[in-house]
Symmetry: D2
Subunit: 137 residues, 4 copies
Amino acid sequence: MSKVSETSVRVRYGETDQMGFVYYGNYALYLELARTELIRQSAWSYKQLEAEGIQLPVVNVNMKYKKPAVYDDVLHIRTKIIGEINRKICFYSEIFNAQNELLLKGEVELVFMDKHLKKVINCPDIIKEKMKPFQWS
Amino acid sequence: MSKVSETSVRVRYGETDQMGFVYYGNYALYLELARTELIRQSAWSYKQLEAEGIQLPVVNVNMKYKKPAVYDDVLHIRTKIIGEINRKICFYSEIFNAQNELLLKGEVELVFMDKHLKKVINCPDIIKEKMKPFQWS
Amino acid sequence: MSKVSETSVRVRYGETDQMGFVYYGNYALYLELARTELIRQSAWSYKQLEAEGIQLPVVNVNMKYKKPAVYDDVLHIRTKIIGEINRKICFYSEIFNAQNELLLKGEVELVFMDKHLKKVINCPDIIKEKMKPFQWS
Amino acid sequence: MSKVSETSVRVRYGETDQMGFVYYGNYALYLELARTELIRQSAWSYKQLEAEGIQLPVVNVNMKYKKPAVYDDVLHIRTKIIGEINRKICFYSEIFNAQNELLLKGEVELVFMDKHLKKVINCPDIIKEKMKPFQWS
């Protein structure tokens, strides 16, 4: 039975724009922190990963905006891994507000890269293994 | 013959992250300024549009990252409108660096909203007309 | 005996720059959330304040950077109010890392403004009263 | 006769907040680009400087906000160097809107740092020489 990582974040004033909602680009920061927490929950951290010479640049993003988030909202984010983990890994997140309304669906695909050689690599087996609980076919 | 709007932007230090590239979420700012310039070139401005009671919240974003942008790069952005303009409008942009390498393909879909009633409306005909030169079927 | 408000925040990847530290402008977001929490701890919220027609634009900022914050650091922020609360209010914060090293000292002065008339006002007495516990002469 | 560096920047939607003004922390980005242009006008670039192993972390910021900048404003920034250039350098900027109203006065002090040794150094003489035209006692 696969798991979903959960985290929450409060909207900052500086993340809103003059429309009174969170600026569309700032959801990228929320998705980043959600996948960082998933990674931490799978027993290593993204910070360690970089320390060991692996970077994860983003290669594809899709965000669907259903309802706006507003200032001071506590957002609840549910994140899982979809598809295979090889050279790429794909995180899927849903962001909800306190009223449990779905605000955003986001998919972020990243590629495993050797930090020093700047070339794409396969995800090391040990990392694959640790992420498996969060993986949904 | 349809037109493409062109604009350029220089990468700021604060837009990079510790990977040494532009942070993936910050491209949203570049796409915003590119569509703002397209709108300006079609004879009105987004600012005026809001003054007249119309807002354009984003409902869908897709960004494909091909190569990273780095600090102080002058990026060149080519933007056009794809598909019909009705309740929604979709901008398609390509971002190039000074070596004319394609860095990013981005699609941003926005919805016309009455600012005061907060409900979706059709794009006014006069605006449709002015945008037509940039529209690609 | 005056009180100090305490809060913490984890550094996001998107808040770093290519120097590998938090970008100097992003500390403004940390100071914002620290004073928001102080206000919340004094029994009302900044969000409510805006709902009641009062805004607090910033008029003066001073930040002294002692040591850099890095990605994934959990920062600890201690905030208090210094000086009188009248037309202006001044928040003083210190930011520490997990090793309890002082990273930044920040002073942010804001002015009470009537949201609709856009003119400066005195801080309402009820708000002054609630903030008093956090006030240091 | 000392010189002043001039540059301009258009306010992006994502730089505003729900107050309808530019978020107070985002002026740091404008001051960054203003000093970057001053440095470029003095015949080398900040990018080159980093390539040669010198970094300039910020150690002190003071910003006084006089009037708000709003979306789509073209801001005009005038920047000069104040005081001696040794281990530190201090940039002073004034930001004006299109009506020539003064919006912000900002002082940013940076320290010369050896990028590899991470220790403070003196500004190399050749750089001091090139910056001199912008220096005001």
